[in-house]
């Protein structure tokens, strides 16, 4: 499909807004529908689309397997570390009240960081699944 001009050009136009939209969904998750999970899927969709058009190898150049396999646990690690951070501020695990100057801001920060972790893991998992399926040779 690499030779299909229409697809290639359109894709170039779509990719950037797609990633931007992912960030919007990510950051707007506090106020409207959205959050790390949805944002991760959208961002992954961008990479997957790129891979579909330009081939798996091209996608792998952007997000190599080694990075991917580190990103999956890294996201969970962010989530868990934020929880542990609560413990260091004198709260229980996953307690965010003391992360900022007051409880409301603390919760906001906590959830924001946690969502970032979710984003990373969901994104990398989705791309990973795509790689796994696309990488399969016919037996």
């Amino acid at each position: 499909m690499r030779l299909d001009v229409v697809l290639r050009v359109t894709t170039k136009f779509i990719l950037a807004p797609l990633l931007l939209f992912a960030l919007y969904v990510q950051f707007h998750g506090d106020y409207g529908p959205g959050g790390g999970f949805q944002a991760g899927v959208i961002a992954a969709a961008a990479i997957i689309l790129y891979g579909l058009i330009n081939g798996l190898a091209a996608a792998r150049r952007i997000v190599p397997d080694a990075v991917l396999e580190r990103l999956i646990p890294a996201g969970v690690l962010i989530y868990a570390l934020v929880g542990v951070a609560g413990m260091f501020t004198g709260e229980n695990f996953l307690g965010y009240n003391h992360l900022a100057h007051d409880a409301v801001h603390g919760q906001e920060w906590g959830v924001f960081l946690v969502e970032a972790g979710v984003f990373v893991t969901v994104f990398s998992s989705m791309v990973g699944i795509f790689y796994a399926f696309a990488g399969r040779r016919r037996a």
């Binding site: 580190r70 890294a74 969970v76 868990a80 229980n92 695990f93 996953l94 009240n97």
Partner: protein, 497 residues
């Protein structure tokens, strides 16, 4: 600061260990991370057990949220021994894994293997630590998913099939469980164990509750391989990598049994009649079936790993029988057997794993006379086998002693006789192994078997030694088990201690 957070640390430590091991992507590093994490987990579990024995139940609120809204972790006399057991077996399995994975796992996947072991540990520990029905489901899934991966990493091609079957069956079990939890939430409006128990008396129509019980019990029964829902287990254990088998056989089903005990004793009430029969009677019937049918099946196995797997199904029957007897001695026996069986079956699977690695087979007819060339591994297998029979001087005797005591105290002499009778079947299947490995002229494979490294045998020997030790000096496990039994049978019936 650490002491206060122990209930959650015991789950977080293996979780972080798993994440770091995955991040490292380096086999050697992953092992050391896994080792450190599992030892730290064991320390945390031991500290928790100490705190609980000294000061009673510990409650921990995740994020500081009230149990009505958030998740509560609750460690009490029932869960503390389970945490200790799982953490200890985790250390043993990981030490054992160091050498066994070099033979059994493709090198690129070794780091993943450690990750999955740790995640599985985290899931199992979470199931025991959490006091929230839905949170338990999450951990159930975490442990199950990692278990499927662990089994599928086995080199035998049949491992994939076994993992796939377990995946489907496990998912059915988890689905049943979560449906049951949903119904429970519907009737009580909460997911917290303590609150559920508090609100149970207010419920006027128990229909939904009975359905919840059916779903939850059958769901858990699938996970703990209660006869006749055990069929996924033999292949899963037989084809998984040795260290995974040792870990799963000694922890996964045990945690499920713990969960069953929790629900039956604290939430639903085990003596309650459902229609014409009581829950306890139904459980007892299935347990007896498991003890006899699975032992019988074990007698006809040729692969020692499968033989031991069938024996596990039978031994789980003993444990659930102890729960079904439902008096203090019986439940003590059940909890004792949870711990003792974990030790002996861990030792047995590790020993046969060592033999499999060295001689290249776990088939009974190919291992004739292996005792001559691998006396240490065969010795550990013998000790574990004797404990499976329940020979005096091994831990298996102590737990069966309490089970028989419980049966007699319940006024059911026939049950005591059946327990002893089923041991005779164990004599047969263990006797087959012993006869072949010690008394036959060495077969070709046996003669070619090479010495196995000490790090492979060390955990095996430790577990075998503990099996003997707890058979001679049963004070410590009996104390743990009897306080668990007292807590379950509880001061206030039907309420969590």
């Amino acid at each position: 600061m650490i002491a206060a957070h122990l209930p959650v640390l015991v789950v977080l430590l293996p979780l972080f260990g798993g994440l770091l091991a995955a991040l490292s992507r380096h086999n050697e590093a992953a092992f050391w991370i896994a080792l450190v994490a599992s030892i730290a987990t064991l320390a945390a579990a031991a500290a928790l057990a100490g705190q609980v024995m000294a000061g009673g139940p510990i409650s921990y609120r995740i994020g500081g949220w009230d149990p009505a809204l958030g998740i509560e972790y609750r460690i009490d006399a029932v869960s503390a021994p389970i945490l200790l057991l799982v953490a200890a077996m985790g250390v043993a399995a990981i030490v054992y894994a160091r050498r066994s994975v070099t033979v059994e796992i493709i090198p690129e996947r070794v780091a993943w293997y450690y990750t999955m072991m740790l995640i599985c540990l985290a899931g199992l520990l979470g199931m025991a630590a959490s006091g929230d029905a839905f949170n338990i489901f999450v951990f159930l899934e975490i442990s199950s998913l990692s278990t499927y991966t662990l089994i599928a990493l086995g080199r035998d091609r049949r491992a994939l099939l076994a993992a796939y079957q377990y995946l489907i069956v496990g998912t059915i079990g988890a689905t049943f469980y979560v449906i049951g939890v949903g119904l429970l939430y519907l009737s009580t409006g909460t997911l917290n164990f303590g609150l559920i128990v508090e609100r149970l008396p207010e419920i006027t129509s128990p229909r939904a509750l009975i359905a919840a019980e059916a779903f939850i019990v059958v769901g858990i029964a699938l996970k703990l391989a209660l006869f006749p829902l055990h069929a996924w287990l033999p292949n899963a254990y037989a084809y998984a990598p040795s260290s995974a088998t040792a870990l799963l056989a000694s922890t996964a089903t045990k945690v499920a049994v713990y969960l069953l005990a929790r629900y039956l004793f604290a939430v639903f009430g085990i003596q309650r009649s459902v229609g014409p029969i009581s829950v306890a009677d139904a459980l007892m019937a299935l347990s007896l079936l498991a003890m006899f049918a699975a032992s019988l099946a074990a007698i006809f196995q040729n692969d020692i790993k499968r033989l031991l797997a069938f024996s596990s199904v039978a031994q789980i029957g003993y444990i659930t029988l102890g729960l079904a007897i439902a008096n203090e001695a019986g439940v003590t026996g059940a909890f004792l057997h949870i711990m003792n069986h974990a030790l002996m079956k861990g030792a047995a699977f590790m020993a046969i794993g060592a033999i499999l690695i060295s001689a290249g087979s776990s088939k009974l007819d190919e291992l004739a006379g292996i005792g001559r060339t691998m006396p240490v591994a065969a010795g550990a297998l013998t000790v574990a086998g004797l404990a499976l029979i329940g020979v005096p001087g091994t831990s298996g005797f102590v737990s069966k002693w309490y089970l028989v005591l419980g049966a007699i105290e319940a006024g059911r002499l026939w049950l005591a006789i059946l327990i002893v009778a089923s041991s005779v079947l164990a004599v047969l299947y263990v006797g087959r192994i012993l006869e072949v490995i010690w008394f036959r002229e060495p077969a070709k494979r046996s003669l070619e078997a090479q010495a196995v490294p000490l790090s492979l045998l060390a955990p095996t020997l430790v577990l075998a030694a503990l099996t003997i030790w707890f058979g001679l000096d049963a004070g410590f496990p009996v104390e743990l088990a009897s306080s668990a039994a007292k807590a379950l049978l509880g001061v206030s019936k039907g309420a969590l201690p």
